[in-house]
Symmetry: C2
Subunit: 335 residues, 2 copies
Amino acid sequence: MTNAAEPPSTRSETLADLSEGQVLARIFPRLPDADAALLGPGDDCAIVAAPDGRFVVTTDMMIHGPDFRLAWSTPFDLGWKAAATNLSDVAAMGARPTALVVAIAAPPHTPIETIEGIADGLRSACAALSPGCGVVGGDLSASDTLTLAVTAFGDLDGRAAVLRSGARPGDIVALAGRLGEAAAGLELLFREGVDEAGTPNAARADALKVRNPEQLAAQLRPEPPVTLGPVAAECGATAMLDVSDGLAIDAGRIARASGVGIDFRSTALGDHIERALNGGEDHGLLATFPAGSELPSGFRALGTVTAGAGLILVDGKPHSQGGWDPYRGWNGAIG
Amino acid sequence: MTNAAEPPSTRSETLADLSEGQVLARIFPRLPDADAALLGPGDDCAIVAAPDGRFVVTTDMMIHGPDFRLAWSTPFDLGWKAAATNLSDVAAMGARPTALVVAIAAPPHTPIETIEGIADGLRSACAALSPGCGVVGGDLSASDTLTLAVTAFGDLDGRAAVLRSGARPGDIVALAGRLGEAAAGLELLFREGVDEAGTPNAARADALKVRNPEQLAAQLRPEPPVTLGPVAAECGATAMLDVSDGLAIDAGRIARASGVGIDFRSTALGDHIERALNGGEDHGLLATFPAGSELPSGFRALGTVTAGAGLILVDGKPHSQGGWDPYRGWNGAIG
């Protein structure tokens, strides 16, 4: 596999060496097919089945610099994570992912293997997280900054969508997925995946991947519980979202949208409570279920919905939220 | 209106000065509503009506450098063109545009007025080209390179999609929209919209906009005949596409997909035949209609579908295609 942190080998073909048609011919066979594709790539638009008569849609960009370092993420990781984070947003509506469109912008000197690796990651993530979902179209552009823009679609199969606004006092607050592991992985990378000057370093990151495989994988190749989104909806979830900015911030979104408070039990948050509450990029599903519900397999209770609009509590005491902001949180380094 | 070519004024707030929530609060009121939006921005996904049970989807990125210069395009132009080019792809399927999602990545020093201008351009383009279509969701990221990624959706209203593969010998070849004007505008900008060193220059571009308003507008703020896409489908169009890479290249796509030739009448191509055939970014609709059809208003005949798989002819003689390629065509300049 190409290590994207190295300068392109003289033997490797770059995007500038190939026509757009040649690049597409290299990546199309690697992309996953979508069961819902009535017409795939090749015309002005793709056509996707929407048997429900509605579709859900989300879009998210991953940008070299603020969102990833090529010394730390392989191209496969990038494709995987771009698919996984969007699939998780679809699942958080209670929808079944049906299709993705993927736009990639890359510098002309990018080796073709980098784009192939991204395609492989997209395919593997769809196969692992949401079988039947695939890529129905895309766009390829030149840019100084490697950028992936994924738009994902899902079908509600006749169900009501699970919004952020449906939680009611007394509901059980439950989570499917990990807490704080992705943040721990990122912290390790910033602390130990850099050289003496603080520059992201591939060899040191590789060593970390061996020593801390779970935390690094949670950060670089997350596995959100996509199939549990529709399951939660079927089981009566009253509110749900994808935990991307940290449990406290995202629970606050449900709390404000629903006009309720959320009280977490500290004993349910693991050994690193602050990291569990404030660490970003978990990509678990946070949902509320009616009191007395039997939680669907894969969800565990973290607390209770209370009165008190917008309040986040831990063991009944107010929690002061941390936070992450895309503009304030980026120091301008690329790596 | 802010001139994005100038360095940010000290009085202007930048993205780095504002939280993501504050930026969204500034741009949401400017974005166009979509009639098809069952749920707009604010949850993990939007929900869009797809009464047909299928939807068409296309995605396209616009990148600072290869795709636009901030000395030439206002933020309003960028938003307009990003919407217009995607709406045209939806129309080319014979579909009615229903909704867009828009991801914007911008450097932290970008003035908030730039993002507001992009939102205004999106709104105005939807209102002018496809009333009822609007923005249902998006994403905002930090990047070294200003990037717009638009994904557009459309409904087929129960019709079959008009693909590239349906043209038959004897069909009329017809166009709605202009030919070569966008390329002429770009040529003017590269020749006269630059300073002595060849750097894109806002004042010179502004002077060109006064002297050559139609050609500059065709390049910077195109007006594809979006509403004519469904009309062409209703009138029996056998094949259709959006002319984005030049008439000859795009006609070649219909010719290859349909296994036919296309013979243009030179007298129908205007005074600048080579520019009409090879100039990019026209964003007209090229369609074929059964022999003897009355063309829908807005379309004019350019020639005839013939036998001969993939051949492009002018007055019966083979035409050698030019071409544009995103990686080979960009010289690395930003401007």
